[in-house]
């Protein structure tokens, strides 16, 4: 029984990895209509309610908020494996928080479950300055670039991007010697092949805020669903990566190899 639980991620909690940030759209007790962060009181209750605050479950109180009522993404009920999600409209929906958790690090790990729709222009899901996961460019209605950045101008790209809901992982380790070992990207438990532009640096870029659903608070808006995000300010071990990906895959009904 213990082996079965381990195999399917049962009993595992992201809290065991001491995350710096943990956002879980399936937990309705963390989603509020107001943009007031910790003091928000009105929970979302109905499909299509706006989400002004998404509370952090890491214990670090890094609650993310929309910076205007017009930017509030939308709560969607039972969209993925019977669980609720947050939908970003690709026009002007996002969250932001003043935070420098990824600044000047030699390693970090980001795990995310999301479902892209093709945006009308370049778009990003998660950005701490130039620490960006994922960024796409768009031309004539098609996605043409799929990038993950650790610093400006230096990134790894995948040849394809699944538009299905997926568990994606970004593992950065600046102590390694070259691009291919410094930046790993995985989709549904399988390592992606990255092509690199520039040099993935030994230390991550500094930043003062994190946006979720856009590149900054004013440009490059994500279109689609964000289901869960977990950020570690360290390199996850191989076992931890596997645990996290299985946990997320099992939870959201996504097959993880």
């Amino acid at each position: 029984m213990g082996q079965l639980l381990k195999l399917y991620g049962g009993g595992f909690s992201p809290l065991s990895l001491a995350p710096a940030l943990w956002l879980d759209a399936s937990d309705g007790s963390t989603l509020y209509q107001e943009r007031t962060g910790a003091s928000a009181t009105t929970l979302v209750t109905s499909d299509a309610d706006p989400v002004g605050t998404w509370k952090d479950k890491s214990g670090n109180a890094r609650h993310v908020t929309a910076s205007s009522d017009s930017k509030r993404p939308t709560y969607k009920v039972s969209t993925h494996n019977g669980r609720s999600s947050i939908y970003f409209d690709g026009v002007n929906d996002n969250f932001i928080i003043t935070s420098s958790i990824l600044s000047g690090l030699s390693a970090y790990s980001i795990f995310m479950v999301r479902q892209w729709e093709v945006p009308g222009a370049a778009a990003a899901i998660f950005a701490g300055g130039n620490n960006i996961f994922e960024y796409v460019t768009v031309s004539a209605g098609s996605i043409t670039g799929r990038r993950s950045y650790i610093s400006g101008g230096n990134y790894g790209s995948t040849a394809t991007l699944s538009l299905s809901s997926s568990v994606v992982s970004l593992i950065y380790d600046g102590t390694k010697s070259n691009n291919a070992t410094r930046l790993l990207r995985r989709t549904n438990g399988t390592q992606d092949t990255l092509s690199f532009t520039g040099t993935i640096p030994a230390t991550s870029d500094t930043h003062t805020s994190i946006t979720i659903g856009s590149l900054t608070d004013t440009v490059s808006w994500f279109k689609g669903y964000i289901l869960e995000i977990v950020v570690l300010t360290s390199k996850a071990t191989t076992d931890n990566i596997s645990q996290m990906e299985r946990y997320l895959g099992n939870k959201w009904g996504i097959s993880v190899s």
Partner: protein, 141 residues
């Protein structure tokens, strides 16, 4: 037993495309009526290059908020609201705003699309294409 889910109060989804000359006025209206943060931040132009000729925002709003928007847009656009507008249900309001869209656009340049927020949304990319207007630029990190 049927569907017991509670309906959201946010029944409307609105896309506003505003000519640059009207941006400040609507920003002031938004600040007075809704929110002191800037809403009209999406830059648009016919060619997709700067400078922006139009600005857009997309948001959800309630019945009460829809009344304030309708009043403002109709006043600006010279389109009279029917006296019974406040008694209209959500679908009737959407029908009215949709019918008034050409006059609002002709009189002010402001383009308004409204749909049910709890139903199928409008296609923003198709609207932009139909209005022959594009997002300005692309910012590469």
């Amino acid at each position: 037993m049927g569907d017991q889910r509670i309906m959201t109060d946010y029944l409307f989804r609105v896309l506003l495309i505003v000519p640059s000359a009207r941006k400040d006025g609507l920003d002031a209206f938004i600040a007075d009526e809704f929110d002191d943060a800037e809403w009209l931040i999406v830059e648009l132009s016919p060619t997709g290059t700067a400078p922006a000729t139009h600005y857009a925002t997309c948001f959800a709003c309630t019945m009460e908020q829809s009344s304030r928007w309708a009043e403002r847009l109709s006043t600006d656009g010279g389109v009279s609201l029917p006296p019974e507008f406040s008694y209209y249900n959500a679908d009737q309001r959407i029908q009215f705003i949709t019918a008034a869209r050409p006059a609002l656009k002709a009189n002010t340049g402001v383009i308004v699309y409204v749909c049910r927020n709890d139903g199928e949304w409008f296609d923003v990319e198709a609207i932009l294409a139909g209005e022959t207007i594009k997002r300005v630029g692309e910012v590469l990190p």
